[in-house]
Protein backbone atom coordinates (compact mmCIF):
# COMPACT_ATOMS: atom_id res chain seq x y z
CA UNK A 1 0.00 0.00 0.00
CA UNK A 2 1.83 3.04 -1.19
CA UNK A 3 -0.04 5.62 0.92
CA UNK A 4 1.50 4.02 3.98
CA UNK A 5 4.93 4.00 2.34
CA UNK A 6 4.61 7.70 1.50
CA UNK A 7 3.49 8.43 5.06
CA UNK A 8 6.26 6.36 6.64
CA UNK A 9 8.97 7.92 4.49
CA UNK A 10 7.66 11.39 5.20
CA UNK A 11 7.49 10.71 8.92
CA UNK A 12 11.01 9.25 9.03
CA UNK A 13 12.37 12.14 7.01
CA UNK A 14 10.68 14.71 9.26
CA UNK A 15 11.60 12.90 12.47
CA UNK A 16 15.28 12.93 11.64
CA UNK A 17 15.17 16.63 10.76
CA UNK A 18 14.16 17.52 14.33
CA UNK A 19 11.02 19.22 13.00
CA UNK A 20 8.98 16.63 14.82
CA UNK A 21 11.05 16.84 17.97
CA UNK A 22 10.80 20.63 17.86
CA UNK A 23 7.04 20.78 17.53
CA UNK A 24 6.33 18.05 20.06
CA UNK A 25 8.90 19.57 22.42
CA UNK A 26 7.65 23.13 22.14
CA UNK A 27 4.01 22.20 22.63
CA UNK A 28 4.76 19.93 25.57
CA UNK A 29 7.01 22.52 27.17
CA UNK A 30 4.40 25.27 26.79
CA UNK A 31 1.62 23.23 28.35
CA UNK A 32 3.89 21.91 31.08
CA UNK A 33 5.14 25.40 31.93
CA UNK A 34 1.66 26.87 32.13
CA UNK A 35 0.75 24.18 34.64
CA UNK A 36 3.96 24.67 36.62
CA UNK A 37 3.52 28.43 36.78
CA UNK A 38 -0.02 28.12 38.11
CA UNK A 39 0.67 25.55 40.82
CA UNK A 40 0.24 28.13 43.58
CA UNK A 41 -2.27 30.27 41.73
CA UNK A 42 -5.18 27.85 41.38
CA UNK A 43 -6.27 24.81 43.34
CA UNK A 44 -8.07 23.21 40.41
CA UNK A 45 -6.23 21.91 37.33
CA UNK A 46 -9.26 22.61 35.11
CA UNK A 47 -8.77 26.33 35.70
CA UNK A 48 -5.29 25.98 34.25
CA UNK A 49 -6.70 24.06 31.28
CA UNK A 50 -8.82 27.11 30.63
CA UNK A 51 -5.65 29.23 30.39
CA UNK A 52 -3.99 26.58 28.25
CA UNK A 53 -6.89 26.70 25.79
CA UNK A 54 -6.39 30.45 25.27
CA UNK A 55 -2.74 29.94 24.74
CA UNK A 56 -3.31 27.12 22.25
CA UNK A 57 -5.92 29.18 20.44
CA UNK A 58 -3.31 31.83 19.67
CA UNK A 59 -0.05 29.92 19.53
CA UNK A 60 -0.75 26.33 18.48
CA UNK A 61 -1.46 27.25 14.84
CA UNK A 62 1.91 29.04 14.77
CA UNK A 63 3.71 26.04 16.23
CA UNK A 64 2.10 23.81 13.61
CA UNK A 65 3.19 25.97 10.68
CA UNK A 66 6.83 24.81 10.45
CA UNK A 67 5.73 21.20 10.81
CA UNK A 68 3.31 21.32 7.91
CA UNK A 69 3.89 24.06 5.37
CA UNK A 70 6.63 22.21 3.48
CA UNK A 71 4.84 18.83 3.42
CA UNK A 72 4.24 19.00 -0.32
CA UNK A 73 5.56 22.40 -1.40
CA UNK A 74 9.00 21.46 -0.07
CA UNK A 75 9.11 18.34 -2.24
CA UNK A 76 8.05 20.33 -5.27
CA UNK A 77 10.50 23.11 -4.56
CA UNK A 78 13.48 20.79 -4.09
CA UNK A 79 12.57 18.07 -6.57
CA UNK A 80 12.01 15.13 -4.22
CA UNK A 81 8.55 14.95 -5.77
CA UNK A 82 10.13 13.45 -8.90
CA UNK A 83 11.42 10.57 -6.82
CA UNK A 84 8.08 10.11 -5.04
CA UNK A 85 5.86 10.55 -8.09
CA UNK A 86 8.24 8.64 -10.37
CA UNK A 87 7.16 5.63 -8.36
CA UNK A 88 3.66 4.33 -9.07
CA UNK A 89 1.98 6.50 -6.45
CA UNK A 90 -1.29 8.15 -7.38
CA UNK A 91 -1.54 11.81 -6.52
CA UNK A 92 -4.16 10.95 -3.90
CA UNK A 93 -1.84 8.46 -2.22
CA UNK A 94 0.94 10.99 -2.20
CA UNK A 95 -1.11 13.90 -0.80
CA UNK A 96 -3.02 11.90 1.79
CA UNK A 97 0.11 9.97 2.77
CA UNK A 98 1.75 13.32 3.52
CA UNK A 99 -1.31 14.43 5.48
CA UNK A 100 -1.38 11.20 7.48
CA UNK A 101 2.25 11.62 8.48
CA UNK A 102 1.97 15.26 9.58
CA UNK A 103 -1.38 14.66 11.27
CA UNK A 104 0.05 11.69 13.15
CA UNK A 105 2.88 13.81 14.55
CA UNK A 106 0.46 16.56 15.55
CA UNK A 107 -1.93 14.23 17.30
CA UNK A 108 0.96 12.63 19.18
CA UNK A 109 2.14 16.09 20.23
CA UNK A 110 -1.32 17.02 21.57
CA UNK A 111 -1.69 13.80 23.51
CA UNK A 112 1.79 14.08 24.96
CA UNK A 113 1.36 17.74 25.94
CA UNK A 114 -1.99 17.16 27.63
CA UNK A 115 -0.50 14.07 29.29
CA UNK A 116 2.40 16.10 30.69
CA UNK A 117 -0.05 18.73 31.95
CA UNK A 118 -2.03 15.97 33.65
CA UNK A 119 1.06 14.55 35.34
CA UNK A 120 2.21 17.97 36.57
CA UNK A 121 -1.28 18.68 37.90
CA UNK A 122 -1.51 15.29 39.58
CA UNK A 123 1.81 15.77 41.33
CA UNK A 124 1.47 19.38 42.39
CA UNK A 125 -2.07 20.79 42.40
CA UNK A 126 -4.18 20.92 45.56
CA UNK A 127 -7.08 19.15 43.87
CA UNK A 128 -6.42 16.14 41.67
CA UNK A 129 -7.00 16.48 37.91
CA UNK A 130 -10.07 14.86 36.44
CA UNK A 131 -9.24 12.24 33.81
CA UNK A 132 -12.46 12.76 31.88
CA UNK A 133 -11.94 16.50 31.73
CA UNK A 134 -8.38 16.12 30.46
CA UNK A 135 -9.49 13.54 27.90
CA UNK A 136 -12.20 15.90 26.66
CA UNK A 137 -9.68 18.70 26.51
CA UNK A 138 -7.35 16.52 24.45
CA UNK A 139 -10.24 15.68 22.13
CA UNK A 140 -11.25 19.27 21.40
CA UNK A 141 -7.58 20.24 20.98
CA UNK A 142 -7.17 17.37 18.53
CA UNK A 143 -10.10 18.68 16.50
CA UNK A 144 -8.47 22.11 16.51
CA UNK A 145 -5.15 20.60 15.44
CA UNK A 146 -6.88 18.59 12.70
CA UNK A 147 -8.43 21.78 11.30
CA UNK A 148 -5.10 23.60 11.09
CA UNK A 149 -3.04 20.67 9.84
CA UNK A 150 -5.66 20.17 7.11
CA UNK A 151 -5.55 23.85 6.20
CA UNK A 152 -1.75 24.05 6.18
CA UNK A 153 -1.13 20.79 4.30
CA UNK A 154 -3.88 21.87 1.90
CA UNK A 155 -2.05 25.17 1.33
CA UNK A 156 1.17 23.21 0.86
CA UNK A 157 -0.52 21.06 -1.79
CA UNK A 158 -1.62 24.19 -3.63
CA UNK A 159 1.80 25.81 -3.81
CA UNK A 160 4.97 24.87 -5.63
CA UNK A 161 7.59 26.80 -3.71
CA UNK A 162 8.69 27.18 -0.12
CA UNK A 163 8.14 30.93 -0.03
CA UNK A 164 4.60 30.75 -1.36
CA UNK A 165 3.72 27.98 1.05
CA UNK A 166 5.04 30.05 3.95
CA UNK A 167 3.10 33.09 2.79
CA UNK A 168 -0.05 31.00 2.40
CA UNK A 169 0.25 29.40 5.81
CA UNK A 170 0.84 32.65 7.67
CA UNK A 171 -1.88 34.33 5.65
CA UNK A 172 -4.28 31.59 6.68
CA UNK A 173 -3.24 32.02 10.31
CA UNK A 174 -3.73 35.76 10.26
CA UNK A 175 -7.15 35.54 8.61
CA UNK A 176 -8.49 32.67 10.67
CA UNK A 177 -7.19 33.63 14.10
CA UNK A 178 -6.64 37.34 14.85
CA UNK A 179 -8.62 38.79 11.96
CA UNK A 180 -11.66 36.55 12.21
CA UNK A 181 -11.82 36.56 15.99
CA UNK A 182 -11.38 40.31 16.13
CA UNK A 183 -8.27 40.22 18.25
CA UNK A 184 -6.86 43.27 16.54
CA UNK A 185 -9.15 46.22 17.16
CA UNK A 186 -8.68 47.91 13.79
CA UNK A 187 -8.45 45.09 11.27
CA UNK A 188 -11.08 42.50 11.88
CA UNK A 189 -13.83 40.65 10.14
CA UNK A 190 -16.49 42.03 12.43
CA UNK A 191 -15.37 45.63 11.75
CA UNK A 192 -15.57 44.95 8.03
CA UNK A 193 -18.98 43.34 8.30
CA UNK A 194 -20.20 46.25 10.41
CA UNK A 195 -18.99 48.74 7.81
CA UNK A 196 -20.58 46.74 5.00
CA UNK A 197 -23.86 46.65 6.90
CA UNK A 198 -23.68 50.42 7.47
CA UNK A 199 -23.21 51.02 3.78
CA UNK A 200 -26.23 48.89 3.02
CA UNK A 201 -28.20 50.92 5.55
CA UNK A 202 -28.75 48.06 7.94
CA UNK A 203 -27.29 46.82 11.17
CA UNK A 204 -25.89 43.47 12.23
CA UNK A 205 -27.21 41.93 15.39
CA UNK A 206 -24.72 40.80 18.02
CA UNK A 207 -26.03 37.30 17.39
CA UNK A 208 -25.16 37.39 13.70
CA UNK A 209 -21.69 38.69 14.45
CA UNK A 210 -21.05 35.92 16.96
CA UNK A 211 -22.35 33.36 14.52
CA UNK A 212 -19.92 34.57 11.86
CA UNK A 213 -17.08 34.58 14.38
CA UNK A 214 -17.86 30.99 15.32
CA UNK A 215 -17.26 29.91 11.73
CA UNK A 216 -13.50 30.20 12.17
CA UNK A 217 -11.82 27.01 13.40
CA UNK A 218 -9.99 28.98 16.10
CA UNK A 219 -13.11 30.57 17.52
CA UNK A 220 -14.87 27.24 17.22
CA UNK A 221 -12.11 25.76 19.36
CA UNK A 222 -12.53 28.36 22.08
CA UNK A 223 -16.29 27.87 22.12
CA UNK A 224 -15.97 24.10 22.05
CA UNK A 225 -13.93 23.99 25.26
CA UNK A 226 -17.15 24.64 27.17
CA UNK A 227 -17.69 20.92 26.59
CA UNK A 228 -14.65 20.24 28.83
CA UNK A 229 -15.98 22.05 31.90
CA UNK A 230 -19.61 20.95 31.83
CA UNK A 231 -19.28 19.12 35.16
CA UNK A 232 -17.77 22.06 37.09
CA UNK A 233 -19.64 25.07 35.76
CA UNK A 234 -20.95 27.32 37.10
CA UNK A 235 -18.16 27.69 39.61
CA UNK A 236 -18.31 30.22 42.44
CA UNK A 237 -14.51 30.14 42.77
CA UNK A 238 -13.77 31.06 39.17
CA UNK A 239 -16.31 33.69 38.27
CA UNK A 240 -14.47 35.06 35.26
CA UNK A 241 -14.25 31.63 33.72
CA UNK A 242 -17.85 30.93 34.56
CA UNK A 243 -18.92 34.14 32.89
CA UNK A 244 -17.08 33.12 29.72
CA UNK A 245 -19.18 30.03 29.35
CA UNK A 246 -22.48 30.68 31.08
CA UNK A 247 -23.21 34.25 30.12
CA UNK A 248 -23.70 33.27 26.48
CA UNK A 249 -26.70 33.11 24.19
CA UNK A 250 -28.37 29.79 23.83
CA UNK A 251 -27.67 29.58 20.12
CA UNK A 252 -26.56 26.92 17.68
CA UNK A 253 -23.03 28.32 17.44
CA UNK A 254 -22.46 27.61 21.12
CA UNK A 255 -23.34 23.94 20.70
CA UNK A 256 -20.40 21.57 20.88
CA UNK A 257 -21.45 19.58 17.84
CA UNK A 258 -21.61 22.75 15.76
CA UNK A 259 -18.10 23.81 16.81
CA UNK A 260 -16.80 20.31 16.11
CA UNK A 261 -18.36 20.34 12.64
CA UNK A 262 -16.79 23.74 11.91
CA UNK A 263 -13.33 22.45 12.82
CA UNK A 264 -13.76 19.20 10.90
CA UNK A 265 -15.13 21.03 7.88
CA UNK A 266 -12.14 23.38 7.74
CA UNK A 267 -9.70 20.49 7.91
CA UNK A 268 -11.49 18.26 5.42
CA UNK A 269 -12.49 21.09 3.08
CA UNK A 270 -8.99 22.56 2.89
CA UNK A 271 -7.46 19.15 2.23
CA UNK A 272 -9.93 18.48 -0.56
CA UNK A 273 -9.25 21.85 -2.17
CA UNK A 274 -5.52 21.22 -1.84
CA UNK A 275 -5.86 17.74 -3.30
CA UNK A 276 -7.92 18.88 -6.28
CA UNK A 277 -5.43 21.67 -6.94
CA UNK A 278 -2.55 19.18 -6.72
CA UNK A 279 -4.16 16.73 -9.15
CA UNK A 280 -4.27 19.53 -11.71
CA UNK A 281 -0.84 20.89 -11.02
CA UNK A 282 2.18 20.44 -13.25
CA UNK A 283 5.18 18.80 -11.67
CA UNK A 284 8.55 19.55 -13.16
Amino acid sequence: MSLLTVARDDFTNARRSYAVLGVVGVLTAIVGLIFVSEISVYDDPFRTLFDVSFFLFLVFPIVLAPLTYLAIAGDRDGGAIKYAMGLPNSRAEYVFGKLASRLGVTLAAVVLAVGVGFVVALATFTNAPDVVMFAKFALVSLLFAFAFVGIYVGVSAMTSSRSRAMLGVFGAYFVLVPFWFGFLPVISLTELLGTAADLLGTELSQNTIQFVQALSPATAYLYSTEFVYQSVLPSSTYQGMTATFTDVPNEIYREFWFNAVVMLAWGVGSMLVGYVSFTRSELG
Partner: protein, 325 residues
Protein backbone atom coordinates in the same frame (compact mmCIF):
# COMPACT_ATOMS: atom_id res chain seq x y z
CA UNK B 1 3.43 -2.33 -29.92
CA UNK B 2 5.97 0.49 -29.62
CA UNK B 3 7.20 1.31 -26.11
CA UNK B 4 6.67 5.02 -26.67
CA UNK B 5 4.57 6.68 -29.31
CA UNK B 6 3.77 10.36 -29.41
CA UNK B 7 1.38 11.99 -31.82
CA UNK B 8 1.60 15.74 -32.25
CA UNK B 9 2.72 16.03 -28.64
CA UNK B 10 2.89 19.71 -27.76
CA UNK B 11 3.61 21.64 -24.59
CA UNK B 12 3.35 25.37 -24.34
CA UNK B 13 4.11 27.48 -21.28
CA UNK B 14 2.37 30.75 -22.01
CA UNK B 15 3.86 32.02 -25.26
CA UNK B 16 6.81 29.67 -25.09
CA UNK B 17 6.52 26.38 -26.97
CA UNK B 18 8.74 23.90 -25.16
CA UNK B 19 7.71 20.88 -27.25
CA UNK B 20 6.26 21.45 -30.69
CA UNK B 21 4.09 18.76 -32.31
CA UNK B 22 6.43 15.90 -31.51
CA UNK B 23 5.95 12.65 -33.42
CA UNK B 24 8.24 10.04 -32.02
CA UNK B 25 8.18 6.26 -31.97
CA UNK B 26 10.48 4.21 -29.77
CA UNK B 27 10.22 0.52 -30.57
CA UNK B 28 9.86 -2.13 -27.92
CA UNK B 29 13.28 -3.37 -26.80
CA UNK B 30 15.45 -0.71 -28.41
CA UNK B 31 17.93 1.61 -26.77
CA UNK B 32 16.96 5.06 -27.92
CA UNK B 33 19.21 8.06 -27.46
CA UNK B 34 17.31 11.30 -26.95
CA UNK B 35 19.74 14.08 -27.73
CA UNK B 36 19.62 17.81 -27.65
CA UNK B 37 21.16 20.82 -25.97
CA UNK B 38 19.90 22.14 -22.65
CA UNK B 39 16.50 23.70 -23.10
CA UNK B 40 15.67 21.71 -26.22
CA UNK B 41 12.53 20.25 -24.60
CA UNK B 42 13.84 16.80 -23.65
CA UNK B 43 12.86 16.91 -20.00
CA UNK B 44 9.52 18.49 -20.81
CA UNK B 45 8.86 15.59 -23.17
CA UNK B 46 9.84 13.07 -20.49
CA UNK B 47 7.66 14.82 -17.92
CA UNK B 48 4.71 14.43 -20.29
CA UNK B 49 5.51 10.73 -20.82
CA UNK B 50 5.27 10.24 -17.04
CA UNK B 51 2.12 12.28 -16.49
CA UNK B 52 3.96 15.01 -14.54
CA UNK B 53 2.91 17.53 -17.16
CA UNK B 54 -0.30 17.57 -19.17
CA UNK B 55 0.23 18.05 -22.91
CA UNK B 56 -1.20 21.23 -24.38
CA UNK B 57 -2.01 19.23 -27.48
CA UNK B 58 -1.45 15.77 -28.93
CA UNK B 59 -1.04 12.46 -27.14
CA UNK B 60 1.65 10.20 -25.78
CA UNK B 61 1.21 6.45 -25.41
CA UNK B 62 3.69 4.66 -23.19
CA UNK B 63 3.68 0.86 -22.88
CA UNK B 64 0.19 0.89 -24.34
CA UNK B 65 -1.19 3.37 -21.79
CA UNK B 66 -2.20 6.96 -22.34
CA UNK B 67 0.50 8.92 -20.52
CA UNK B 68 -1.81 11.71 -19.38
CA UNK B 69 -4.70 9.60 -18.11
CA UNK B 70 -3.06 6.34 -17.05
CA UNK B 71 0.25 7.57 -15.74
CA UNK B 72 0.18 5.30 -12.74
CA UNK B 73 0.02 2.22 -14.98
CA UNK B 74 2.90 3.68 -16.98
CA UNK B 75 4.98 4.30 -13.86
CA UNK B 76 4.25 0.81 -12.53
CA UNK B 77 6.21 -0.64 -15.45
CA UNK B 78 8.75 2.16 -15.86
CA UNK B 79 12.01 2.84 -14.08
CA UNK B 80 12.88 6.51 -13.88
CA UNK B 81 16.08 8.41 -13.32
CA UNK B 82 14.81 11.97 -13.49
CA UNK B 83 16.68 15.20 -14.02
CA UNK B 84 16.82 18.05 -11.50
CA UNK B 85 15.52 16.04 -8.58
CA UNK B 86 16.39 15.50 -4.95
CA UNK B 87 16.18 12.53 -2.65
CA UNK B 88 14.65 12.70 0.83
CA UNK B 89 17.65 14.11 2.66
CA UNK B 90 17.07 12.32 5.93
CA UNK B 91 16.29 8.89 4.49
CA UNK B 92 19.17 6.56 3.79
CA UNK B 93 19.90 5.42 0.27
CA UNK B 94 18.78 1.93 1.15
CA UNK B 95 15.46 3.20 2.53
CA UNK B 96 14.72 4.83 -0.81
CA UNK B 97 15.28 1.54 -2.61
CA UNK B 98 13.18 -0.37 -0.08
CA UNK B 99 10.30 2.10 -0.50
CA UNK B 100 10.48 1.78 -4.27
CA UNK B 101 10.31 -2.01 -3.96
CA UNK B 102 7.29 -1.71 -1.65
CA UNK B 103 5.53 0.80 -3.87
CA UNK B 104 6.01 -1.35 -6.95
CA UNK B 105 4.99 -4.42 -4.99
CA UNK B 106 8.20 -6.09 -6.19
CA UNK B 107 10.38 -8.71 -4.54
CA UNK B 108 13.86 -7.41 -5.38
CA UNK B 109 16.72 -7.61 -2.91
CA UNK B 110 17.62 -3.96 -2.16
CA UNK B 111 21.24 -4.84 -1.36
CA UNK B 112 21.66 -6.56 -4.70
CA UNK B 113 20.39 -3.47 -6.55
CA UNK B 114 22.67 -1.21 -4.53
CA UNK B 115 25.64 -3.42 -5.31
CA UNK B 116 24.70 -3.50 -8.98
CA UNK B 117 24.97 0.28 -9.31
CA UNK B 118 28.29 0.30 -7.51
CA UNK B 119 27.19 2.00 -4.31
CA UNK B 120 29.07 0.81 -1.22
CA UNK B 121 26.83 -0.84 1.41
CA UNK B 122 28.00 1.59 4.09
CA UNK B 123 27.21 4.54 1.80
CA UNK B 124 23.73 3.11 1.23
CA UNK B 125 23.17 3.19 4.99
CA UNK B 126 23.96 6.89 5.20
CA UNK B 127 21.43 9.66 4.72
CA UNK B 128 20.97 10.68 1.11
CA UNK B 129 21.27 14.37 2.03
CA UNK B 130 25.03 13.90 2.27
CA UNK B 131 25.41 12.21 -1.10
CA UNK B 132 27.45 13.63 -3.93
CA UNK B 133 25.77 14.09 -7.28
CA UNK B 134 27.33 10.88 -8.56
CA UNK B 135 26.16 8.86 -5.56
CA UNK B 136 22.67 10.31 -5.94
CA UNK B 137 22.66 9.27 -9.60
CA UNK B 138 23.79 5.75 -8.73
CA UNK B 139 21.21 5.36 -5.99
CA UNK B 140 18.42 6.63 -8.21
CA UNK B 141 19.52 4.23 -10.91
CA UNK B 142 19.08 1.44 -8.35
CA UNK B 143 15.57 2.77 -7.66
CA UNK B 144 14.88 2.82 -11.41
CA UNK B 145 15.96 -0.82 -11.78
CA UNK B 146 13.45 -2.07 -9.20
CA UNK B 147 11.07 -4.73 -10.50
CA UNK B 148 12.80 -5.21 -13.88
CA UNK B 149 10.88 -2.40 -15.62
CA UNK B 150 9.75 -2.76 -19.23
CA UNK B 151 10.92 0.77 -19.89
CA UNK B 152 13.83 2.69 -18.40
CA UNK B 153 13.68 6.45 -18.75
CA UNK B 154 17.06 7.95 -17.98
CA UNK B 155 17.21 11.75 -18.08
CA UNK B 156 20.83 12.94 -18.19
CA UNK B 157 21.91 9.85 -16.25
CA UNK B 158 25.63 10.47 -16.64
CA UNK B 159 25.66 13.89 -15.01
CA UNK B 160 27.91 13.79 -11.98
CA UNK B 161 29.20 10.30 -12.73
CA UNK B 162 32.93 9.69 -12.87
CA UNK B 163 34.27 7.72 -15.88
CA UNK B 164 33.97 4.47 -13.94
CA UNK B 165 30.37 5.29 -13.10
CA UNK B 166 29.62 6.23 -16.71
CA UNK B 167 31.04 2.89 -17.85
CA UNK B 168 28.96 1.01 -15.28
CA UNK B 169 25.91 2.90 -16.48
CA UNK B 170 26.56 1.80 -20.07
CA UNK B 171 26.98 -1.80 -18.92
CA UNK B 172 23.71 -1.68 -17.02
CA UNK B 173 21.93 -0.16 -20.02
CA UNK B 174 23.22 -3.03 -22.18
CA UNK B 175 22.21 -5.64 -19.58
CA UNK B 176 18.74 -4.16 -19.35
CA UNK B 177 18.41 -4.08 -23.12
CA UNK B 178 19.55 -7.73 -23.29
CA UNK B 179 16.84 -8.58 -20.78
CA UNK B 180 14.35 -7.07 -23.25
CA UNK B 181 13.76 -3.68 -21.66
CA UNK B 182 13.38 -0.55 -23.72
CA UNK B 183 15.80 2.20 -22.73
CA UNK B 184 15.07 5.86 -23.36
CA UNK B 185 18.36 7.64 -22.74
CA UNK B 186 18.32 11.41 -22.73
CA UNK B 187 21.51 13.41 -22.87
CA UNK B 188 23.00 16.63 -24.14
CA UNK B 189 26.31 14.89 -24.76
CA UNK B 190 26.46 12.76 -27.87
CA UNK B 191 29.45 10.73 -26.70
CA UNK B 192 27.39 9.25 -23.89
CA UNK B 193 24.70 7.81 -26.12
CA UNK B 194 26.54 6.80 -29.26
CA UNK B 195 28.14 3.78 -27.61
CA UNK B 196 24.92 2.24 -26.31
CA UNK B 197 22.08 3.44 -28.48
CA UNK B 198 20.49 1.65 -31.42
CA UNK B 199 18.94 4.87 -32.67
CA UNK B 200 19.06 8.49 -31.69
CA UNK B 201 16.63 11.33 -32.00
CA UNK B 202 18.00 14.85 -31.94
CA UNK B 203 15.81 17.54 -30.53
CA UNK B 204 16.28 21.26 -30.80
CA UNK B 205 13.99 24.15 -29.90
CA UNK B 206 11.13 21.78 -29.13
CA UNK B 207 11.29 19.86 -32.39
CA UNK B 208 12.82 16.59 -33.45
CA UNK B 209 15.32 17.54 -36.14
CA UNK B 210 16.66 14.05 -36.90
CA UNK B 211 15.87 10.44 -36.00
CA UNK B 212 18.12 7.68 -37.26
CA UNK B 213 20.88 5.24 -36.41
CA UNK B 214 24.18 6.89 -35.61
CA UNK B 215 25.81 5.34 -38.70
CA UNK B 216 23.06 6.61 -40.96
CA UNK B 217 23.31 10.08 -39.49
CA UNK B 218 27.04 10.01 -39.99
CA UNK B 219 26.64 9.01 -43.62
CA UNK B 220 23.88 11.46 -44.18
CA UNK B 221 25.97 14.34 -42.99
CA UNK B 222 29.13 13.24 -44.79
CA UNK B 223 30.87 13.90 -41.56
CA UNK B 224 34.57 14.50 -41.63
CA UNK B 225 37.54 14.44 -39.35
CA UNK B 226 40.43 16.81 -39.10
CA UNK B 227 44.13 15.94 -38.77
CA UNK B 228 46.13 18.75 -37.20
CA UNK B 229 49.90 18.68 -37.31
CA UNK B 230 52.56 20.96 -35.87
CA UNK B 231 55.27 21.35 -38.46
CA UNK B 232 58.55 23.18 -38.88
CA UNK B 233 58.35 25.87 -41.55
CA UNK B 234 55.73 26.19 -44.25
CA UNK B 235 55.72 22.94 -46.22
CA UNK B 236 54.42 22.32 -49.73
CA UNK B 237 51.24 20.32 -49.16
CA UNK B 238 50.09 19.73 -52.73
CA UNK B 239 50.79 15.99 -52.42
CA UNK B 240 48.57 15.80 -49.35
CA UNK B 241 45.76 17.72 -50.97
CA UNK B 242 45.85 15.41 -53.99
CA UNK B 243 45.02 12.30 -51.95
CA UNK B 244 41.64 10.62 -52.20
CA UNK B 245 39.39 11.49 -49.30
CA UNK B 246 41.19 14.72 -48.45
CA UNK B 247 38.87 17.63 -48.92
CA UNK B 248 41.12 20.52 -48.04
CA UNK B 249 44.48 21.41 -46.57
CA UNK B 250 45.01 24.60 -44.61
CA UNK B 251 48.53 25.76 -43.87
CA UNK B 252 48.97 28.14 -40.97
CA UNK B 253 51.92 29.48 -39.02
CA UNK B 254 53.72 26.30 -37.94
CA UNK B 255 50.74 24.02 -38.37
CA UNK B 256 48.69 22.27 -40.99
CA UNK B 257 45.06 21.17 -40.92
CA UNK B 258 43.90 18.37 -43.18
CA UNK B 259 40.17 17.84 -43.52
CA UNK B 260 39.37 14.23 -44.46
CA UNK B 261 35.98 13.07 -45.68
CA UNK B 262 36.85 9.38 -45.16
CA UNK B 263 38.46 7.81 -42.11
CA UNK B 264 40.83 5.76 -44.35
CA UNK B 265 42.37 8.95 -45.75
CA UNK B 266 43.92 9.99 -42.46
CA UNK B 267 47.01 7.74 -42.45
CA UNK B 268 47.96 8.39 -46.11
CA UNK B 269 47.55 12.10 -45.42
CA UNK B 270 49.84 11.88 -42.42
CA UNK B 271 52.47 9.92 -44.37
CA UNK B 272 52.37 12.43 -47.21
CA UNK B 273 52.68 15.27 -44.75
CA UNK B 274 55.58 13.54 -43.02
CA UNK B 275 57.36 13.33 -46.41
CA UNK B 276 56.80 17.01 -47.04
CA UNK B 277 57.74 18.44 -43.65
CA UNK B 278 59.14 17.73 -40.20
CA UNK B 279 56.10 16.89 -38.09
CA UNK B 280 56.59 17.55 -34.38
CA UNK B 281 53.12 16.72 -33.08
CA UNK B 282 49.79 15.55 -34.38
CA UNK B 283 46.23 15.66 -33.20
CA UNK B 284 43.26 13.94 -34.78
CA UNK B 285 39.92 15.41 -33.97
CA UNK B 286 37.21 12.76 -34.27
CA UNK B 287 34.67 15.49 -34.22
CA UNK B 288 32.54 13.84 -36.81
CA UNK B 289 29.52 13.14 -34.67
CA UNK B 290 30.02 16.17 -32.52
CA UNK B 291 30.14 18.25 -35.66
CA UNK B 292 26.99 16.57 -36.80
CA UNK B 293 25.36 17.23 -33.47
CA UNK B 294 26.47 20.84 -33.53
CA UNK B 295 25.10 21.30 -37.00
CA UNK B 296 21.70 20.09 -35.88
CA UNK B 297 21.63 21.97 -32.64
CA UNK B 298 23.93 24.93 -33.12
CA UNK B 299 22.52 28.25 -32.10
CA UNK B 300 23.17 29.65 -35.54
CA UNK B 301 20.71 27.15 -36.93
CA UNK B 302 17.03 27.21 -36.24
CA UNK B 303 16.83 29.90 -33.61
CA UNK B 304 16.66 32.95 -35.80
CA UNK B 305 13.82 31.86 -38.01
CA UNK B 306 13.11 32.33 -40.76
CA UNK B 307 16.34 30.81 -41.95
CA UNK B 308 17.57 32.73 -44.93
CA UNK B 309 18.80 29.78 -46.94
CA UNK B 310 16.92 26.89 -45.33
CA UNK B 311 19.95 25.76 -43.31
CA UNK B 312 20.90 22.15 -42.59
CA UNK B 313 18.61 21.42 -39.69
CA UNK B 314 15.24 22.11 -41.33
CA UNK B 315 16.33 20.19 -44.41
CA UNK B 316 17.34 17.20 -42.35
CA UNK B 317 14.12 17.35 -40.42
CA UNK B 318 12.19 17.13 -43.65
CA UNK B 319 14.35 14.24 -44.80
CA UNK B 320 13.64 12.19 -41.68
CA UNK B 321 10.02 13.21 -41.44
CA UNK B 322 10.45 14.24 -37.80
CA UNK B 323 9.53 17.87 -38.01
CA UNK B 324 5.86 18.35 -38.44
CA UNK B 325 2.71 16.41 -37.88
Amino acid sequence: MPAIETDGLTKRFGDFTAVDALNLTVEDGEVFGFLGPNGAGKSTTINMLLGFLQPTDGTATVLGHDAARESRAVRQRTGLLPEGFELYENLTGREHVVSAIETKDADDDPDHLIERVGLAPEAARRRAGGYSKGMTQRLTLAVALVDDPDLLILDEPSSGLDPKGAKLLREIVREEADRGATVFFSSHILGQVEQVCDRVGIMNHGEIVAVDTIDALRDQMGAESTVRADVAGSPDTDAVAALDGVRSVTVGDGHVEVACTQPAAKMPALRALDDAATVTDIDVENADLETLFDRYTGDDVGRDEPTDDGGQAPEAAAATGGGDA
